[in-house]
């Protein structure tokens, strides 16, 4: 019975993937992609990968979907022109050959996997008590493969710098994105008042539970960033200026603490990112606590986009509303 359900979900996924690729309208394709992410997280639940399922739903479906929707909004004006340009038969043939070739190689690789698949799970289970955390995923992310997580955090910060660098000179240091306005008595403003208190509690719960149960800073940061975006889109708060010292400090605190802990490890435990005996848990908690503001700020500011409003010291709403966009009046 459950195999049947998984089979149906897998077929649906394949169909949705095709539909997303073939959709003529970019908005429709993004809608398909978001549903694809949600269905994929269902499949991860079936495979007992709750941590991956949470991440897929939060980042794959939610955050990436929101980023793509923003891109669709910006491309709206050029979409028709892009569709009217048809590439030549040769280009299309090469594209088909290339994608079929890549797919074939991937299929061959999957079929050639040794049976049973190579796994490090027993070693992780054996050494997990030394880290003091109960969730093996957290143990892998912050102890056994901490370097990967450090690089991930740094990549996110660099991505944000990349987005910011798209700002025109006159807006450098200003606020990103449009200033959203919405009916202060409307549904959106109501939602933006009711939901964030609940969302903040759930986000912090996921963060705290991540030590011993599925959850963690990434899923938590996505929820917290979403709450912040909701408040912004309802016009109840504005995006921060990107030259704000606190914002910048919050963005770099995670990687800095991570590197500091790593250097401490090199000094006391003999290896970069090695944790001294008995102190692994507090070190991991310190890194997680420092990474949370970084991730919340980076994820939300990535959604906000490049600075698009001037850096006037006091941008009052009437004098400099910027390119205001009405969201759900």
């Amino acid at each position: 019975m459950t195999t049947l359900v998984s089979g149906v979900v897998a077929l649906l996924l394949l169909w949705l993937a095709l539909w997303t690729v073939l959709a003529r309208d970019a908005f429709v394709a993004v809608a398909g992609f978001v549903v694809y992410g949600l269905l994929l997280s269902l499949l991860w639940v079936r495979l007992a990968g709750i941590d991956v399922a949470l991440t897929e739903a939060a980042i794959g479906g939610g955050l990436t979907g929101a980023l793509l929707l923003g891109a669709v909004g910006r491309l709206r004006g050029t979409e028709a022109a892009a569709w009217s340009e048809r590439s030549g038969a040769g280009t299309r043939a090469v594209a088909v050959l290339l994608s079929v070739g890549v797919t074939t190689v991937l299929v061959l690789c999957v079929l050639a996997l040794p049976e049973p698949a190579p796994t490090l799970a027993p070693q992780v289970a054996q050494n997990l008590p030394a880290t003091g955390v109960g969730n093996p995923i957290t143990g892998v992310l912050l102890a056994f493969r901490a370097l990967d997580t450090l690089l991930e955090a740094i990549v996110l910060v660099i991505a944000l710098v990349g987005v910011w660098s798209l700002a025109p000179d006159r807006f450098w240091g200003g606020r990103p994105g449009p200033r959203y306005t919405a009916d202060p008595d409307g549904v959106l403003a109501y939602l933006a008042r009711v939901l964030p208190p609940i969302g903040i509690v759930i986000g912090l719960y996921l963060f705290w539970a991540g030590a011993d149960h599925p959850g963690g800073k990434f899923q938590s940061a996505t929820i917290l960033a979403a709450m912040w975006m909701l408040v912004q889109m309802a016009g109840l708060g504005d995006a921060p200026r990107i030259d704000n010292r606190w914002v910048r400090a919050g963005i770099v605190v995670g990687p800095l603490v991570f590197v500091a802990v790593g250097l401490l490890g090199a000094w006391t435990a003999g290896a970069f990112l090695g944790y001294p005996e008995g102190l692994a848990k507090p070190m991991i908690v310190a890194i997680e606590v420092a990474l949370l503001p970084t991730l919340v700020l980076v994820l939300a500011l990535l959604l906000n986009g490049a600075p698009a409003r001037s850096a006037d010291p006091l941008p009052s709403r009437s004098a400099d509303p910027g390119p205001a966009r009405s969201a759900g009046r």
Partner: protein
């Protein structure tokens, strides 16, 4: 006792699924965005309520049951708000604003 609870769960969840089915049929068959939203939100809210009520006896503790109820309330809150927002944006588009 557990047989009675299981039977209750099955009846409630199946009834909930019937409402989901009705909402989906409405989404596919109704002529415009407003009536589609109407069908979807009314039927799905009832559907998810019945599914949650059906699942409650199957939870292994009061805390899990409370979490389930919280999820239900959040889904109802967000779906109601989002359907309002969609309807408003459709109306704005129709007026050509």
């Amino acid at each position: 006792m557990s047989v009675v609870l299981d039977a209750f769960s099955i009846v409630a969840i199946v009834a909930g699924l019937v409402f989901f089915l009705a909402g989906t049929v409405g989404l596919l068959r109704f002529p415009d965005a407003y009536t589609r939203l109407h069908a979807l939100t009314k039927a799905d809210n009832l559907g998810i309520a019945l599914v949650v009520i059906g699942l409650l006896p199957q939870m292994d503790g009061v805390l899990s049951a409370l979490k389930l109820v919280l999820v239900w309330l959040l889904v109802v809150l967000s779906s109601a708000a989002v359907s309002q927002l969609i309807a408003r944006s459709v109306r704005r588009q129709e007026r050509g604003e």
